[in-house]
Symmetry: C2
Subunit: 329 residues, 2 copies
Amino acid sequence: MQTIFFENKPRIVATGTVAGPKECAGVVGNFVDRTLDDDTFGESTYEKAECKMLSYAISKAIENAKLKESDIDMLISGDLLNQIISASFAARDFDFPFLGVYSACSTMSESMALAGALVNAGYFRRVVAATGSHFSSAERQYRYPLELGNTRPPQSQWTVTGAGGCVIADKGSDIAITSATFGKVVDFGITDVNNMGAAMSPSAAHSILAHFKDTGRTADDYDLIVTGDLGALGSRILKDLLWEKGVDIQKNHVDCGEIIYNVIEDEFQGGSGAGCSAVVFHSYIMDKIKKRELNRVLFCATGALLSTVSSGQGESIPGICHAVAIENL
Amino acid sequence: MQTIFFENKPRIVATGTVAGPKECAGVVGNFVDRTLDDDTFGESTYEKAECKMLSYAISKAIENAKLKESDIDMLISGDLLNQIISASFAARDFDFPFLGVYSACSTMSESMALAGALVNAGYFRRVVAATGSHFSSAERQYRYPLELGNTRPPQSQWTVTGAGGCVIADKGSDIAITSATFGKVVDFGITDVNNMGAAMSPSAAHSILAHFKDTGRTADDYDLIVTGDLGALGSRILKDLLWEKGVDIQKNHVDCGEIIYNVIEDEFQGGSGAGCSAVVFHSYIMDKIKKRELNRVLFCATGALLSTVSSGQGESIPGICHAVAIENL
């Protein structure tokens, strides 16, 4: 059993989101709390801009929940930078305990799953879960200096510049986290660091199937199954993998990476990065949940577990996917 | 309130530890499950050796608990390498869910605190918490290539080559985790990347004081207050900081970093790294708890929150310390 159930129904009380100009040209533009004019956010480095976005998302979620900093019991966060410095330095801005987590781009759902678990158990009343990413800090850490102007292969994705978070509390809204399925590390032997969708989609399939098995639910029980950042290609692979197992998610699946940009598949597959699902879910998707256009959503952020060192040493790229079930009561 | 209480008293059922030859020349030598002949552990790279040590510690803890892999519900782990690849790749070896965490060298107590929280709440029955580090992989990631043979300043510490973990379960021993205090990020403005002890000791003081305030306990209530890897200098700073607040831990404090090697203070301050407290606590200290030479211990692993990028961009080094109370029933 990979799933735990939240009988006390911890609530998503409010969200906070910020994204860059490229991101806000698309579907999230009308729903984020703040659109950046440029991706430096007034800072001198991309890393500091990434950290500031995360701080903003945390503060804004607290403000949108009509709470004060002193009302918050804990921050759960992580990010893609080495030693999760965005999260660690953002946490320095706040006077509450910090739990650092990392599961690459699955960090948003991992944080929400843990926050739900801690609130449901009564350990804490109000926990913030948040993450983010930045195109330029990710490019230079994982790939090449931007100045090189490298050609990107068509299977690649574009790291989202943005951050998102939410306040999860014992009460305060009708939107509850009802269960969480913790993912296993799944490795299909993909070694192409430009093809994250292929690397992550088996883990998404694995966790979605585990969720259905553990809960007795089927794909039809969800209005929407939202994956993190598989991109257009990865999303198709996921649908194929599930179809082979007799599960049809053709009609009720969207991938945050596929919808955040206007994908042109012979150029790129869409968005990626921890901030991708954080921004899309906490702005665009949550808006539809609040309006009850969606009433039961399975949110499955997906992470590719690699570093420049692991790839350089010939390791493949395993994936992981943590899933949380979110429902209007 | 930074502390949560575990009424159901999750137990530390068994531990697994492995360390390198330099480490095993000291106090942990008689207590680890395995002493490596050389620090490559038969692998072609230091990173693969680090990952293999972590896998070993996880497997050995399960074996020592007289359990099978299929009895385990989850692994909680993280490490110092970029994108916690040791933990992620070690998790690939096992068929249970993986929760990636990161708080630098505080990862051991963070993992145990979370494992305790999940088991106490009844979400899972048996969770493994583990971490590790490797001198050579840390040196080349954080500092300089070993081949440079750089002189080390006297305030520096030596990253421990080793890994340790434990099985935390609903029953199976008389050693319980009774509470956990989650740390805040504390920044005293230290910028010397060689002086981790000074960077981390304020966070240790902060979490220890929070633990006493939240629990109503005093230093005298503990047979031993064990910090992670402050080293000799950091340990003295901690004692001074607490003394200023009216708390005396002169008689019942040890630091894992200070005791793992034979410290010569004009050369170096002792051990560091996530593996430092993991190995010392789960071998030497746990042996004394099992023999009831120690009956109530506060384990406070400490982490320095930095990366080569954050230091290069002029950031200071904040610290964090998560504490768990461990008691013989």
